[in-house]
Amino acid sequence: MFQPVRMNKLQALVLDEEKNLVIKKLHELGAVQISDCRDKLSHPDWGDLLESPTPSPLLRKITTAHMSINKWLDLFQTVAPEPTDSFFRFLFNPSKPKKIPMEEIDGENLLERVESILQKVVHSTQHPSEQLEKVREDISSLQSVQQSILKLEQIEIDLAYIEETAITSVYLGTTLTKNIEIITTELSELTEQTFLLEHTPLSPTESLLIIVCLNQHASSVSNFLRRIGFERIETSGYTGTPGEVLRSIQNRIDELHEEKRQLKDQVVASSDKFKESLLALRELLQIERERADVHGNLALSGPLCMIEGWVPHKVTRKVTQEIESITGGLSVIKVAESHNPDEKIPILFDNPPFFRHFEILTRLYSPPKYNEIDPTILLSITFLFFFAIMVTDVLYGVITLILGILMLRGGGKYSKTIKDFGVILSAGGSATIITGMATGGWFGNLAIDFMGITSLKNLMIIDPMVDVLTFLIFAVIVGIVHLDIGIILGIINNIKNREIKKAFTENLWLILVQILFALFYLKTHVPSGTGTVFIINILIGLIALATLFLLIVGHKGMSFFALTGAVGDTLSYARLMALGLCTAGIALTVNILAKMSAGVPLIGILFLSLILVIGHIFNWVIQIMGAFVHGIRLHYVEFFGRFYSGGGDEFIPFALKREVTELKT
């Protein structure tokens, strides 16, 4: 709590021949982040003792097998795609992920199994898939020809006649109508007036052209036509009129579609038979690959292998015992906390179960450094408070709570992110119900003023639409308290890191300013000329001097900007009041519009209902989003700026992940 988990640096020397067993055990434990030992090779203390690691002999075979499986799975996904949940289904009622039971199999045995399955897949799927691809290409090609010959539909010439002869060349194609004159003129020159040109319009701008010329002029005519943008239509090999050719092409396309359907059925049958096995084997190969990849992070020293990494303090004993057990005691293990300030120690959050769901908000900014305060707990409490102030309506809170619960019980079962947001919304909704009661927000003033449930006023502490100034002062005071918490945390952090000067000169002056204001206020309520006033004046003088001293020492030439920055940060919290007021104001507007529409004869009640439902849902959506974004912004900019820098690297354990398979027991 308030600090990441204590980490120990683990260094283990094991026999090279046993490293695979150790790697496998560490992978199963999932408790160690393995570091890269290769940087030690250039270290003066280690360089002479260590050698470069050897890659796993299985790595290449695993990679090849993985690629082959991916190729077949991609084909199966194209031909028989797996249905996926829609967005709302994914959030509220996701399909249960299917787990394929698999026995434990690894290494060469796994590769043999993969090879065997792939052979069966190739035998049943290779030919139909190749044919399927060919049929698709043929269909595409025929459709392209069909599009071209469609332009010839109106001419009734046998296409067999539109062919080159021993003497003549024929050009059939389309061009812009405006170019016909130019073509005629140019061809006259090129062919010494020995050519035939006929044209017919296809559209206002495009015409079909047929040109016949002598073979001796074919080259120059061809070049010219290419330059002028003449689109030639190839008809060689076709006999019959364009209409007849189009019919025969269509028949052929229909035959190919039928052939495609049959081939696809064969591939789908193959997919039904092998897909599950391939998915399971792919996951096992991925596990093997991760284990093979980690070889590159180790270092060798003769018959020994060095494994280095980070392990959380609370599981260190278990990890060392497991390594000793698997190596039969033939290992040397060193575990120690690192006190090197330059070392980047990975961080693992350590928060109680409820607050773990808010770690996503800390991560969004940046995880803490190892010796830094983890702000998650404080952030979650104040974030919920700010959220509730900005939404401040009981019924909006109820809707938010229901949404949160639906997400928790729905998508939250299988997705950690949805679960986290489910908890955040549920907690935010609950807090909003309380603040809503305090401000009399029940879909704005719908319940109290419009429906006349005036007993709800007994729960009210403040009416934001009436006591606006009070609400503003409250928001600013909340901001000052929030900033003070941040300043105190900053002081504690700096003292812990032995930066004493920074602890007292950075932000303490702002707390002293508040004490000054308090003393000034107190002075106005004490009878003048008394000893108390004298003492207060002395205190004011001393604290003012101390404030000025700390401000100048801590900020030097930037003292003025430190002052203005503090004013800006404090005023920024006025948004709590502004957004709270917005919620109430928009809800009030919706209710007024609904009441006005109720006066319409016959269908007034329908309009009333529509306006209320649509208006309040709209208001709820924008206020929730606004409260979330501005609540988190106040933390990231104003609060974190006092004590938190982040920049830590999260602990990523070398852990086995099974998403598709489960071990057969």
Binding site: M465, G568, L571
Partner: protein, 161 residues
């Protein structure tokens, strides 16, 4: 028919300008940031969270404009209990409203910065915090505008008088 004095009318104008001009600035700023954000999430939808937070930052000036308008309306009796508002007082409210309104135009600069920081976050997600700090720099002057509005209204006894 309710009679309103010219002073109240000028105050209402001030409130309207406070919100209206600030809304233009905030709207443009958020729009510029949003355009950049669309490009980022087209490449990587997982960046939606940081992009949304950065896009929301230029909204602050709109909130300040809204706050300024509310304070003017309160002080001039447009909201809450009616008060006597002379023409000079109405002009004071008008001046105060123009301050926050024009201060809201800083949101355009903030939106440009937010958009650029989204690009930084797309390449280096760990720069999100620094990006936020860069983005909020423009807000300083909007805060000064809000502060001047408050000082004007308090000094002229429109508020707290």
């Amino acid at each position: 028919m309710i009679e309103f004095s010219l002073g109240v009318g000028l105050a209402a104008l001030g409130a309207g300008l406070s919100m209206g001009i600030a809304a233009i600035g905030a709207g443009i700023g958020v729009g510029i940031a949003g355009a950049a954000g669309a490009g980022v999430i087209a490449e990587d939808p997982k960046k939606f969270g940081p992009v949304l937070v950065l896009q929301a930052l230029p909204q602050t000036q709109g909130i300040y404009g809204f706050l300024g308008a509310i304070l003017i309306m309160l002080g001039a009796g447009i909201l809450g209990a009616a008060v006597e508002v002379s023409i000079p007082l109405g002009l004071i409210c008008l001046g105060a409203g123009i301050t926050t309104g024009l201060g809201g135009i800083t949101a355009i600069g903030q939106g440009i910065t937010a958009g650029a920081c989204m690009g930084a976050v797309a390449k280096r997600p760990e720069s999100f915090g620094q990006g936020m700090v860069l983005t909020v720099m423009s807000e300083t002057f909007a805060v000064f505008s809000l502060l001047i509005l408050i000082l004007i209204l308090v000094g002229a006894k429109v508020l707290g008088g």
